[in-house]
């Protein structure tokens, strides 16, 4: 008998008989009832508490703020996608800037050492965020692959204010995640960190040292 | 941890289960517990055939022996009166573990019925007697050590401090890591003496650091352990069972 069949057989022929299936009440992880302002406030409070930086910007003005961030952080080479509106708008706005734009929509095998060693920042869109924990959610795509939010020392994520939801559970349910998961779904809450050296927090142990979230607001706000 | 218990009105009579440590080492604590109950107008019955709740063999894994010892106690409480135990450890054994120990045996129903009537002494004084105390003692600072069984198994972290809080002349101070085990653990202290010693050492240091020269506890196992450590070091800190402390200061 294969290991598979032997294991399943033992589990099915359980000595103490079948087990009762308990009911699960998920009320405790949903129904927060926060307003949009409260969600944003919570999101910002939590993500900044773990070293994330939040910059609010009117939607129309966001690429100007992006350019400011890139200048302030001394970014010379920025990896980004091409097709997503975030990438497309950034490319357009930065066309004449000092920053060199690095195409992320290439097979990693062709540019791994370049990505690891010579990219200063990765720019990605986000699908939304979670107020309760200060988390961004990303579903990497061929246009914005998995590693550009991980390998460069700075990750710049663009978030639309109205896409912040209350809880992780709410996101999973509202967006029907169970109906079709991508290759990789990610929650990102701050830059990479460790406390493995005597509980002292240090950032950027493997992934980005810094995470900047550009929160885009409809209209003139903020 | 323990489900909220619905407390009965103050009864006319109760049983008192003294526990073997009290019987052998701290009988005055047991008697003082009885006096506190009697002062509340309650008649206290002490079945003379009581011995031990069975916890020592139970926690050692000798459940056949524990069941035999426990079974010898079950018949001692025939009337539907509360059973008062001046120990969270033995009280926890009887309330929580008797039903498990007798599950599937002919005495299961009886064990459940008895378990449902078990109250730890401070619990009973607070929640059933709504005890009022008039402090006649000198001003004093004390530390309370609540046993792990009282705190976690019986959910009684508050009753000891609540009683001490009724003593007008007594200042209750809290030691660092108050909820941490003192290292007694019954046979644990014998099987792992060095670890147990390290734990009681830390506990005595924490109590001593408060500046109090007296600690009060509702469990004689902890008292034997902590006071034994203080005595061994010839430190002036004394331990006292909460029943004796309350009786002494209010009688």
């Amino acid at each position: 008998m294969s290991a598979r069949d032997a294991i399943l057989k033992r589990l099915r022929e359980r000595a103490d008989g079948p087990l009762a299936v308990p009911e699960c009440d998920f009320a405790v992880v949903t129904n927060r009832g926060w307003s949009q302002a409260e969600r944003l406030e919570r999101f910002e409070r939590w993500i900044t508490s773990v070293h994330g930086e939040v910059i609010h910007t009117p939607r129309a003005d966001w690429t100007r703020r992006l350019a400011e961030v890139l200048a302030a952080k001394g970014v010379q080479r920025l990896a980004l996608g091409r097709e997503h509106p975030v990438a497309a708008e950034a490319r357009k706005a930065l066309a004449d800037a000092e920053v060199e734009l690095v195409d992320a929509d290439r097979d990693i095998e062709g540019w791994q050492s370049e990505q690891f060693e010579r990219v200063d920042a990765g720019l990605t869109s986000t699908r939304g965020a979670i107020a309760e924990t200060g988390s961004l959610w990303l579903w990497p795509t061929p246009d914005e692959p998995r590693l550009i939010s991980l390998v460069p020392p700075l990750h710049i994520a663009v978030l639309d204010a109205e896409t912040v939801e209350d809880t992780f559970f709410d996101v999973v349910e509202a967006h029907g995640w169970a109906g079709g998961m991508p290759t990789n779904a990610l929650l990102v809450s701050g830059p990479s960190k460790t406390a493995d050296i005597e509980q002292t927090l240090a950032y950027g142990v493997h992934g980005p040292r810094e995470l900047v979230v550009l929160v885009r607001h409809a209209g003139e706000r903020p | 941890m323990t489900p909220v218990k619905c407390y009965p009105p103050k009864p006319e009579r109760v049983y008192f289960f003294g526990t073997c440590l009290v019987d052998l080492f701290y009988p005055e604590a047991g008697l003082d517990g009885i006096r506190l109950l009697e002062r509340e107008g309650i008649e206290v019955l002490f079945p003379q055939d009581q011995t031990c709740c069975g916890q020592p063999p139970y926690t050692s894994g000798y459940h056949d022996e524990a069941r035999a010892v426990a079974a010898a106690q079950l018949d001692l409480f025939p009337e539907p009166w509360p059973i008062i135990v001046p120990s969270g450890s033995c009280g926890g054994m009887m309330r929580t573990h008797y039903p498990q120990l007798f599950a599937g045996t002919p005495q299961e129903a009886q064990a459940r019925e008895v378990a449902g009537r078990v109250f730890e002494l401070t619990e009973f004084l607070v929640h059933v007697c709504h005890l009022r105390l008039e402090d006649r003692g000198e001003p004093e600072t004390v530390v309370m050590h609540t046993s792990c069984s009282a705190r976690r198994e019986m959910g009684l972290a508050e009753t000891g401090p609540a009683l001490l809080g009724k003593l007008g002349q007594v200042e209750l101070v809290e030691q660092a890591r108050a909820s941490e085990c003192c290292g007694f653990g019954g046979t644990f202290a014998v099987r792992h003496p060095e670890v147990s010693a390290a734990m009681v050492e830390d506990k005595t240091q924490a109590i001593e650091a408060t500046g109090a020269t007296r600690f009060v506890t509702s469990d004689c196992g902890c008292m034997m352990n902590i006071a034994g450590r203080f005595e061994h070091q010839k430190k002036p800190v004394k331990g006292e069972h909460i029943a004796s402390y309350l009786w002494r200061r209010t009688s």
């Binding site: 009440d25 999973v172 929650l187 | 052998l24 894994g61 290292g183 060095e194 061994h232």
Partner: protein, 483 residues
């Protein structure tokens, strides 16, 4: 830099007493653990302060119980959905079989270098040693695991592997093994490790990780981490092998948020970790990164045996948060290595006997004062103290015999002692006489009682027992106040 090939520092659960003695006598170990555990307990308390923790724990326990109730069906569903997503699923009856499966996958890719994310199951099966013996280098990438590996040790905590080491010790290890400067600058040391490990991520042929939750409904592997090494391990090398115990499966994707909330808060007092990484397939056509192959190795190794017994089953609810060890007064004193097992502390003491047998681990279930702190904080409400007692019962041969090595501690002398106690406690007249006699003969009582009196004075039997006091009290009750 060179990775060690053989761990020189070994610990065994058989040597619990000696190892405890050594740890208790080591001020550095004592201080490191005390400080770390105090901090972790405080952080957990704070982070749950605005939660309905009991309701959340109830949900966590029910989700895990539901998964266990449906375990064989869920494993098949997980397998089918993983397969549909392109993840290859393998089954292993034992740790050795899992090691062999993983080695064969590595060999099929002619792998020489493996980079690892944190996986306690891989520690449990001694995967690194197995791979090294086959000429495949296995390098840990979690910073704590990396430090412990450099120091030729095993993890001393399931969440924080290097918690037994302080800053100076870590600085010394990095200096000695990798040539960095001696410093107390944690950012410098972290940056040095980052640089060292980045080279290895790029060069690795295979990445091996654990799994925190495997979702049957979608065929998704969830990994919880702060550092990003888990994402690196599962994204950079061309092959990813995830290895996990069969109990880690959950039914629905919606089961994951509450368990994740409980896990991070219980483990480190964080409301969330930096990364929650959910992997559902290898790189698809048109995608530009990620492994081209993903394998899932499901390991039994004694778990299906635990599964047979209604009471022992609760052991399998565990989500490996480590809160029980953070709150354990014994673990805090003796540290993780003393237990001599992959899983130390209370969860280790109820799990290791199933994995290693009670012959090896007989001192672990007794290494607890049954203070209940572990059960109180367990996010999925495992009745750890009750399970410790159950294993004591199995050890002395009064259980159901469902644990390997049951009865190993049954000694004639101890049985005789408890039988004598039983006889005494069921003969009330003799009991009363003996107790009274003990008081009268107290001058003859030894003042030294073995280990008890090494550090404590012996308790002194009272002159009069409570039985006698109560008789006298009732006789004189009508004479007014007695004192």
């Amino acid at each position: 830099m060179s990775a060690p090939t053989h761990p020189v520092q070994t610990y065994s659960p058989r040597e619990f007493h000696r190892q405890a003695h050594d740890a208790l006598g080591n001020p550095q170990i004592r201080a490191n653990f005390r400080k770390a555990m105090d901090g972790l307990m405080a952080k957990r308390r704070d982070i749950f302060s605005d939660w309905d923790l009991e309701t959340l724990r109830e949900l966590g326990a029910n989700i895990r119980l539901r998964a266990l109730a449906k375990l064989p069906d869920l494993l098949e569903r997980l397998e089918a959905n993983c397969a549909a997503n392109g993840i290859r699923v393998h089954w292993a009856e034992s740790g050795e079989e899992a090691c062999r499966l993983i080695r064969e996958i590595c060999e099929a890719h002619d792998a020489k270098s493996v980079i690892k994310g944190k996986s306690m199951v891989s520690e449990e099966m001694h995967l690194n040693a197995h791979l090294e013996a086959a000429g495949i280098e296995a390098l840990e990438s979690d910073l704590g695991e990396y430090l412990v590996q450099l120091n030729e040790q095993t993890p001393s905590h399931i969440i924080m592997p290097a918690i037994h080491l302080n800053t100076d010790e870590i600085s010394g290890i990095l200096h000695d093994k990798t040539g960095t400067e001696r410093t107390r600058d944690v950012d410098y040391m972290t940056a040095a490790a980052r640089a060292q490990l980045r080279e290895r991520f790029m060069a690795a042929d295979v990445g091996i990780s654990g799994v925190n939750f495997a979702v049957a409904e979608t065929g998704t592997l969830c990994l919880v981490e702060n550092e990003g090494n888990g994402r690196m391990t599962t994204t950079v090398p061309p092959v990813h092998i995830a290895v996990t115990g069969i109990e880690k499966v959950v039914e629905h994707l919606r089961d994951v948020p509450p368990l994740y909330a409980l896990l991070t808060r219980s483990a480190t007092g964080q409301h969330v970790t930096t990364y929650f990484n959910m992997i559902s397939s290898p790189r698809k056509t048109g995608e530009h990164d990620g492994p081209r192959e993903v394998h899932l190795v499901l390991v039994d190794s004694g778990r299906s045996n635990i599964y047979q017994d209604d009471e022992l089953l609760d052991t399998l609810r565990c989500i490996r948060c480590g809160a029980c060890m953070n709150h354990c007064p014994v673990y805090t004193r003796v540290g993780g290595h003393t237990y001599g097992t992959t899983y130390p502390g209370p969860i280790g003491s109820i799990l290791s006997p199933h994995l290693m047998g009670l012959e090896e681990t007989k001192d672990l279930p007794t290494a607890s004062s049954l203070c209940g702190a572990c059960g109180e904080v367990c996010p999925v409400k495992i009745p750890i103290p009750d399970l410790l007692v159950r294993l004591r019962k199995e050890s002395v041969g009064e259980g159901r015999g469902n644990v390997p090595g049951a009865g190993v501690k049954r000694a004639k002398s101890e049985v005789a002692a408890w039988k004598a106690f039983q006889w005494l406690a069921t003969h009330p007249g003799v009991w009363r006489g003996s107790m009274a006699m003990a008081g009268k003969l107290k001058a003859l009582m030894p003042s030294r009682l073995g280990p008890w009196t090494e550090c404590r004075s012996a308790p002194k039997p009272a002159k009069t027992t409570l039985h006698a006091l109560v008789k006298r009290h009732h006789a004189t009750k009508h004479d007014g106040e007695e004192r």
